[in-house]
Symmetry: C2
Subunit: 308 residues, 2 copies
Amino acid sequence: MKIAVVGVGAIGGIYGGLLAHIGHDVHFLLHSDFEHVQRNGLRVDSVLGDFQLPKVNAYQHAADMPQCDVIIVALKTTANMQLAPILDVLLKPETTLLLLQNGLGAEEFLAQHYPDTSLLSGLCFICCSKIGPGHILHLDQGAIRLGEYSPQQEAGITPKMRAIAELFANTGISIHFTPNLLQARWEKLVWNIPFNGLSVILQQSTQGLLTDRHCRDLLVELMEEVIEAANHCGFTIQAHYAHVLLHATDKMADYQPSMLLDYQNKRPLELESIYWEPIRTAAERGFNMSKTRVIAQQLAFLDQQNKQ
Amino acid sequence: MKIAVVGVGAIGGIYGGLLAHIGHDVHFLLHSDFEHVQRNGLRVDSVLGDFQLPKVNAYQHAADMPQCDVIIVALKTTANMQLAPILDVLLKPETTLLLLQNGLGAEEFLAQHYPDTSLLSGLCFICCSKIGPGHILHLDQGAIRLGEYSPQQEAGITPKMRAIAELFANTGISIHFTPNLLQARWEKLVWNIPFNGLSVILQQSTQGLLTDRHCRDLLVELMEEVIEAANHCGFTIQAHYAHVLLHATDKMADYQPSMLLDYQNKRPLELESIYWEPIRTAAERGFNMSKTRVIAQQLAFLDQQNKQ
């Protein structure tokens, strides 16, 4: 079974690296790190155990890659517009697409282009970052919530999901099935919307945000707004979930959310999938995410400044 | 007629300096700049004409000052808790207190302590800053909206207001009377809440905020929220006032709002009077200033960080 990893940042690097490490046939499509990885392979410093892959299948162009049975898309959603020419080359009729991306909208976008392709998504609960070319640091956690996309929302637990879980069986990564992927995406937004945004705006890692009284109030109030939005969109998230996530984050190692790292490295921020698409989706159901909108507008300003 | 100026920052410096410059008997109570001003006087670089006052009545302690007919309070509202021992010394029965301060709550606070003292407030529409000890830069504008405080809100145009306007007659400063001081305070908040807050959070002067599309939307939406809050509190501000202020600010010279200067100089931010008091006042009338609250919470975090 051939596995492609499209995008080898922190997420593609850790999960693709683990799959290669346990012996799977993994093919990495790289961009800026191509030459380094082709020459030196991948290095992973992980809480699951450090390892090096001195020789990996590294590619600069999709056209050079084999067609694959599983394609892991680990690009930032800001790069999804560039996916079509890559997937056109890599896809076979029976290929499974596995998106490891945050926010809303990626499945709908891909389902329009590839209506007959199985589309699965993994929501990654992991603290990791790329700290150098081909060099991934995995600090904490690692579990994936896995679901299959269905326009009817509730896909249940499918054979394709079991097959993906099988792939990860010996990696040390826990796979948790979710029968309702979009519900899981909204649940993840309950964390991502407050923590990613405020970490960029206030230039703080998680513990700095959590320990300030006013900022902690703001985190909770944003979480509550996302929960309310999700419930307006037909999902069911209990109000106390905000506090569950808050206390879980209290116990996590201090962490720089991925959007803060993107900002610091002058990469574009995933505002469309993490902010604007949820705001629009809720507005269509008559709910105004007014606090989230303030955060999104501030981030849009900072993102624009960052590009200059 | 003796005039005291309590607090000689940008506002106390420019208005007190102008009054002294045209020959009034002005007594300045200084804090950090005392020694410099006692030795060198005040220097004012102003669009109305530069001038120096080589010798001013400078004091380090209120106890050394004469009782005054007019006391101009030009401290930041964050220092109002320190006013009582100063005013106890300076006040005569017929003294007029003139507050040159932003936000809500200062009159109510002082009226509790000095119920028999005439309390006037001037809202300053001015671009000025203190650029060195005893050295004021006045870049643009300068008008004062003057009103008398009345617990019944509508004080009308009073003899005390005319007397203060008389004092400023030859300074080049326009005095505009407002019969309803609290309405005028809310109108000023329509500008202060968005521009002061976002300038600190996004580290931008006015033109930088205005020219970004998302940030401009946010400015307008915050202004509209303040207008809605004011209208809930029994005042009358038209919806289009947001656009009036926006276009006026477009035409103003690029400007660092006073809160941004306070932040950069590690001075405490006027969050109580400009944010929390309006938020509480609106909440008592059943209106939730949800966007303003996000800004206030972010500012509270930054203010706290700034103190460390």
